[in-house]
Symmetry: C2
Subunit: 394 residues, 2 copies
């Protein structure tokens, strides 16, 4: 079946690509940032707001929707677009990353993995919340501890029920501590799963394959070559741990990836990472960062307002210094929040545990990212991306 994705590159400037992804629910101009709608909602924001702040596409988590409210319900609703009342493009992930990482995510902290390779232990042990073999990953639900299996076929089945514009083949994201042998074994599993995923896929939804290979140059290149030659509509890059490894990885695989397929960097979203990844030919990004940190009081601020690499382009509104600060949140931002409210008011909302505070910073942060991506696109068009890069990164 023909797939509903058309990608065109309008311009390449010093490695940065200006493009357009045409999908069933609309066009995504790239480079683009995807806010994360974990449970079919970008936390605290309405679809109307996402639209008014220039969001082109969101990504939703297969793991979460599969467990709650369940695939069947979303199918009944007519798909995730109808369910969440968002008529623009939606991407879904494969569910693999959460199945592996959420096993003990809460206890170990983000980005720390703990799972077994091999057969399922006879007795469920609470410390083992995910294990993987050649066929599948088995994981315990974060909601009730119940066991679930995820196979490549099942992930595709769920994502087809969600009806998202872009689906992703199941992959294994190896633990950061994995050695060469484990990483190779894991990559080969991901490759086999990629083939199974394509075979299982029956609709015209676009499908991306995932490049893995950890921190090893030969594996990354091998994975990029392998995934690139399969019948995927786009390439996702997974398992990028730490800035330096990530940039190296992107440099390694750049030449191995086909120009004509869009490239998505999974789970990446600091300002610095975005600039450096765009410079390495990445087209789309997703990250919970902008909304997650909003909910603990962080707001992104623009370079001309004092944002820089050191302060990570953000201020924390809960700090005392903002109590009497009657300036706009960011005087160089033209979003509703910055045009309407003072830092002192936002500080008050956070100090008073008012939900409006979480909303307003989430709104501003996503607006900030959308605007930055727009500026990046314009700079590629105008061949000034190098200047924009220098301005923000120095």
């Amino acid at each position: 079946m023909g797939r509903n994705l058309k990608f065109s590159i309008e311009k390449v400037f010093e490695g940065a690509r200006l493009g357009k992804i045409e999908l069933a629910h609309g066009i995504v101009e790239t480079p683009a940032f995807l806010p994360v709608a974990t449970k079919a909602t970008v936390k605290t924001l309405s679809p109307k707001e996402l639209d008014e702040i220039g969001t082109q596409i969101v990504i939703t988590n297969t793991y979460h929707l599969y467990l709650k409210p369940g695939t069947k319900l979303i199918k009944e609703a007519g798909g995730v677009h109808k369910f969440m009342a968002w008529n623009k493009p939606v991407m879904s992930d494969s569910g693999g990353f959460q199945a592996f990482s959420l096993g003990l995510g809460a206890e170990l902290g983000e980005g720390k993995f703990k799972y077994d390779v091999g057969e399922r232990p006879k007795k469920p042990v609470m410390e083992r919340k995910a294990y993987v073999n050649q066929d599948k990953v088995v994981f315990q639900s974060i909601y009730d501890g119940s066991y679930h299996e995820l196979t490549p076929e099942k992930s595709i089945e769920i994502q087809e029920a969600l009806g998202t514009d872009i689906i992703v083949a199941l992959d294994e994201c190896p633990p950061p501590s994995a050695d060469y042998n484990y990483t190779k074994e894991s990559m080969e599993r991901t490759h086999k799963w990629a083939i199974r995923s394509l075979k299982a896929h029956t609709t015209d939804q676009a499908i991306y394959g995932v490049v893995q290979g950890g921190i090893f140059e030969d594996l990354r290149k091998e994975s990029a070559r392998f995934i690139s030659k399969l019948d995927f509509d786009g390439i996702a890059i997974g398992g990028a741990f730490g800035k330096d490894e990530m940039y190296k990885t992107l440099d390694w695989i750049k030449e191995e990836l086909p120009d004509k397929k869009p490239r998505h960097l999974l789970g990446i979203g600091t300002i610095t990472d975005i600039f450096n990844s765009v410079a390495r030919g990445i087209d789309t990004f997703d990250c919970v960062g902008p909304t997650r940190i909003a909910r603990v009081g962080y707001a992104y601020i623009r370079k001309e307002s004092g944002g820089n690499i050191k302060n990570k382009f953000r201020i924390r509104l809960t700090k005392k210094e903002f109590k009497h600060d009657f300036q706009p949140l960011d005087k160089n931002c033209d979003c509703y929040v910055c045009k309407t409210f003072s830092r002192a008011y936002l500080h008050h909302l956070f100090k008073s545990n008012e939900i409006l505070g979480l909303r307003l910073l989430s709104y501003h942060n996503i607006y900030f990212f959308n605007k930055l991506m727009r500026e990046i696109r314009e700079s590629i068009k105008n061949e000034t991306f190098d200047k924009l890069y220098d301005y923000w990164m120095n």
Copy 2:
């Protein structure tokens, strides 16, 4: 100094009054409902949303703003309108009700009072969180247990700093269990405080006096007469406990109140209470109900959608029966929420602890009240209020 309130009655139909209150920040068409902006925010909603759902005026709590962020900060901000970015009218209460009731509110439950009459105990006793004598009420902060004094003069001073359109004289709301003697003593204190409040008031903000008198006919009438003859711009009615007592109270005092002053019923806000109070000549109401119950999953539904006195015109979205219900929240409501989302999606948001759920029901519930008040106003104008009353109340 002249005060910035002009009240006109356009029509009276079977006791129900159609009117208009002109204030410094705009006009309020009455009967009207005031959403409560406890801490300078109507919980979960933005001022833009309040405006788009037809909110004419909000009420904010002097007690809360005095403690956090503090009067000084709001004065610095240029008043509460600027602080919360709401350019339409704002009313403030006197702070008395919270000072008395929040002493042990959390422990005893809403509407239950516990405080002492007399001198301040030498040693702070945790069970005594508010006490009152002829001069003042002394209370412990819900935030840090610190002691604060509220006098009529101080309440006026705070409310003048807030810069609200309508301020309220400090009163004592006696405990529901108070006997005749205590209620009389308390009422006389309220009356003395009313005189002191007027004397202390220096700006052109409109000021309302509060009628008390508990459940005793002669006291209520005496209080209504006393407060009415003072130089207040409007009359607030306080301490209405329970439906039957409240309706009786309104009947008792109706004849004692001057026609030409607006009448505000403090803290009242069920559909039934609103219909019955409008029928008894009340012009404005405030209540945390619509937003508070929204946050635990209740949505108001219209009569034609199955709302009635028995179900209190509401459904609880957290219930299992809504899991697969893909109908709009209320098919006879034309707000953004009802035009956009299904009950099943709202159910999912609540089951997943998503903030968007709290927002959407708060939005709908305030829209519901604003629309109902608009319909009530039209029905008075068209002399069909009796029919509207019968339709909703039977």
